[in-house]
């Protein structure tokens, strides 16, 4: 489900017709994502011991999982463009743009929940495709184009909300929205056995996005072409890969995922408003890069985006439970992240040395 690339090890045998089993395989424990998983579970357990309320299903874990679900989709939206070596600075505004259409659909057109979501996704994909098209046609860097798009959408979304609504938000709630927000797997039962009250039903979208992207990057030719486009656009172009179309595809997918995240954020808080996605940009990079996606393109980690986002979520929640004030919360968050990642790096280096020593 990911396109894993191990840390540097021995020599590659990629020039042989069939890659032989490498002589000095890096151990499984050196995988960055395993380190993240251990960190997330370890920190969760630590906070659980220090503050037993951390394991409170209804008040702590359910909201935490709902938050992680939304931010994982945000991280995936960024990861898709990072895979072609681009970035999307308008990820938050694209979320707001998508959510605007969902709200409009529910409020003015009286659409049912799934159709509004579809409209939201189409709007997101369209704005993403437009961004990708501008980038490929003009050759201007994605940084500049998405930054410009961010400003343009900031104005456009505010303007549309002010023109269309009284309170700068669509407050019409289609049937099923409240349930989607507050139901967990505990509301799904097979006979007498129900699911966990910890996993929100909203997470279904995240799981779908994870599976979809995992399949795309792990098992399809288009996925491989996206990665090759990111790794070396010139080589990809010369290899016959339509890099322009792949860039447009990556941005379209990014817009679609951003809109999905916007929808999820709106469902999470209750209404479709202009301020959705205001805080999406940093978590989008944090989640994907922590998870092992390279900023330079060519390497992605779908599971890593989930784990990276979960790590930040767990640390934040734990610190909140410990009653850390605003002045210190972000300092601690930064310190814990730095420590966590240093520990991860130390572990990788130690594993790597062991391998080297054993050769």
């Amino acid at each position: 489900m990911t396109a894993p690339v191990a840390p540097p090890g021995g020599d590659t045998r990629s020039d042989r017709p069939t890659p032989a089993r490498p002589a000095h395989r890096l151990p499984f424990r050196a995988d960055q994502r395993l380190g993240l998983l251990v960190l997330v579970v370890g920190l969760g357990a630590l906070f659980g011991v220090v503050r037993p309320t951390f394991l409170d299903a209804r008040l702590v874990l359910f909201p935490l999982f709902r938050d992680v679900s939304t931010l994982t989709v945000v991280a995936l939206a960024q990861m898709v463009v990072l895979s072609v070596g681009h970035m999307n600075l308008a990820v938050g505004r694209m979320a707001a743009f998508g959510a605007l259409f969902a709200g409009l659909g529910y409020d003015r057109l009286g659409l049912p929940l799934p159709l509004g979501l579809l409209l939201c996704l189409c709007a997101g994909a369209a704005i993403g495709a437009l961004t990708g098209w501008i980038i490929t046609r003009t050759g201007v860097s994605s940084f500049v184009v998405t930054l410009a798009m961010d400003f343009a959408l900031l104005g456009l979304v505010s303007l549309l909300y002010s023109a269309l609504t009284e309170n700068a938000a669509f407050t019409t709630k289609p049937s099923g929205l409240a349930e989607l927000r507050s139901y967990s797997l505990a509301d799904i039962c097979v006979g007498p056995v129900c699911g966990s009250p910890v996993i929100p039903q909203l997470a279904q979208f995240t799981v779908l996005a994870l599976l979809g992207l995992g399949f795309l990057y792990g098992a399809t030719r288009i996925g491989r072409e996206l990665l090759l486009t990111g790794a070396n656009p010139a080589a990809a172009e010369l290899s016959g890969i339509p890099t322009g179309r792949r860039v447009v595809l990556a941005h379209t997918l990014s817009g679609l995922l951003a809109a999905l995240a916007g929808f999820m954020a709106a469902v999470g808080t209750g209404t479709f408003r202009a301020s959705i996605g205001d805080d999406f940009m940093l978590p989008s990079f944090l989640g994907s890069v922590l998870g092992g996606t390279l900023l330079t393109g060519g390497v992605v980690s779908v599971v890593g985006a989930l784990l990276g986002t979960a790590l930040v979520g767990v640390i934040r929640k734990g610190l909140e439970l410990l009653g850390v004030g605003l002045e210190s919360l972000n300092i601690y968050l930064g310190c814990v992240l730095l420590l966590a990642l240093s520990a991860d790096r130390v572990r990788t280096v130690v594993s790597h040395r062991k391998v080297v020593r054993s050769t």
Binding site: M1, A3, P4, V5, A6, P8, G9, T12, S14, D15, R16, P17, P19, R25, F28, D31, L37, D56, L59, V60, P63, D67, S158, S162, E166, N167, A168, A169, R181, S182, C189, P192, C194, S196, P197, V198, G214, R221, G223, L227, A231, A235, S239, G240, G268, T269, G270, T271, A274, S275, D279, G298, V299, V303, L306, E320, L321, G325, L326, L329
Partner: protein, 410 residues
């Protein structure tokens, strides 16, 4: 592959021509490609392939294990949330808090803002006066509704059972209030009411923002001599409260019968002082000589306008908001005509007390969801030294109103 183009591609991409030919024919498995990519990125350094299905497998097993261990049986562990609404009993009971030691009040603003600082001291005072279990002031919501929701549920998990909340998004906060209420907690909307007619909290104690903006605009128009051009500086345009402020100012301008014209409404400049300062100095540079009055219904633009008018020597009459030391000194110097002060101390003090009465079920709301104006006062040079007395009197009056009309105590 003798083709020279192929050789060039192979050299550029750093993979062998054999690999390249397999890429082009689609016969290459994906992890060889990934290795090639990594090879490229690391400048030709050797890479190693690894067992691919292991990690997703581990993650899936971990998730499954977590789900299965946490599975519930139907009707076995239903949370007992949802306090039955206490019936509004007839008055005549005492609104003197009998025992507030089990009440833990959390005062949660939308984020850090100077306006809320009095909540901290007023909350601490209320804890002492009414012997409450705890009063916590937590400003870590960072102006994000999702973060505020998370913070509130975390505080509830930590045992806080009464909440005074300034909702980040007035249109969303009812959902938050309904969540908290369904867990049997006492909730008040402090400092701002939810948008629309409905309020899911027990009560709302806040400045009537439209009225406060109207008062401020009226004061500015009076200072302008009832005619001229007015500029309105305010906060985030896509906020329900800002829309109310704009309405309030527009009403005052309309009442002038065309003598006063609203030249411009500048929004989205309350983010921080620098943003406000820049916007105000730009405004004065561009249209300084056309402006006879400036009314600011947001904190940062008010401070910025007070500064800018003083330094530029503009003759525009400024009406500010809140009682920052800078604004008060500007009033005494005469560069700011008036300011409209609000009553955050009263909100926190009376809010914490009423929440404790509701939480202990000593009292119930007569009319759940009722909105109460916490008061706004126009302060000029004349009443600069005495306005705090009026504000204290308003707080005492508020408490009496709660005891007499708002709460029904058994």
């Amino acid at each position: 592959m003798p083709d020279p183009r192929g050789r060039r591609i192979s050299r550029l991409s750093g993979v062998s021509q054999g690999i390249l030919s397999r890429v082009l024919t689609g016969s290459l498995d994906w992890h060889t490609i990934a290795a090639s990519i990594s090879y490229l990125i690391r400048g030709g350094e050797g890479v190693r392939l690894r067992t691919r299905p292991l990690l997703p497998g581990v993650v899936a097993v971990a998730l499954l294990a977590m789900c299965s261990t946490a599975c519930t049986l139907k009707n076995s562990g239903e949370p007992t949330g949802g306090r039955a609404p206490a019936s509004a009993r007839a008055g005549g009971g005492s609104a003197v808090l009998a025992d507030g030691s089990a009440t833990k009040v959390a005062l949660v603003p939308g984020g850090a803002h100077p306006y809320f600082q009095p909540w901290k001291t007023a909350g601490a005072k209320a804890k002492k006066t009414y012997r409450l279990g705890d009063v916590r002031f937590d400003e870590t919501a960072e102006w994000d509704q999702q973060k505020q929701n998370n913070l509130l549920s975390t505080l509830a998990a930590r045992g806080y059972n009464a909440f005074g909340v300034f909702g980040v998004s007035p249109t969303d906060v009812n959902t938050t209030f309904a969540d908290l209420k369904s867990q049997g907690l006492a909730v008040a909307s402090l400092g701002s009411c939810p948008a629309g007619k409905k309020n899911e909290a027990d009560f709302c104690l806040s400045t009537d923002v439209e009225l406060a903006a109207y008062k401020a605009a009226k004061a500015a128009i009076d200072a302008m001599g009832g005619k001229g051009r007015l500029v309105h500086l305010t906060s985030n345009n896509v906020d329900a409260n800002t829309q109310l402020r704009i309405k309030g100012v527009a009403r005052a301008v309309e009442e002038s019968g065309g003598k006063v014209r609203l030249l411009q409404t500048v929004t989205d400049i309350d983010k921080d002082l620098q943003t406000a300062q820049k916007a105000v100095s730009d405004l004065l540079t561009a249209k300084g000589n056309q402006i006879q009055g400036i009314v600011s219904t947001a904190y940062n633009p008010a401070v910025a306008a007070a500064d800018a008018v003083r330094s530029s020597g503009s003759r525009a009459k400024v009406v500010a908001i809140d009682d920052d030391a800078k604004i008060l000194s500007s009033i005494s110097q005469g560069t700011v005509t008036a300011t409209v002060v609000q009553n955050p101390v009263g909100q926190a003090e009376v809010g914490a007390w009423a929440l404790a009465l509701l939480q202990t079920e000593q009292c119930a709301m007569r009319d759940p969801g009722q909105s109460i104006d916490s008061g706004s006062f126009v302060v000029t040079k004349q009443n600069l030294t005495t306005y705090d007395r009026a504000r204290k009197a308003k707080t005492a009056q508020l408490k009496k109103r709660f005891a007499d009309d708002v709460l029904a105590c058994g």
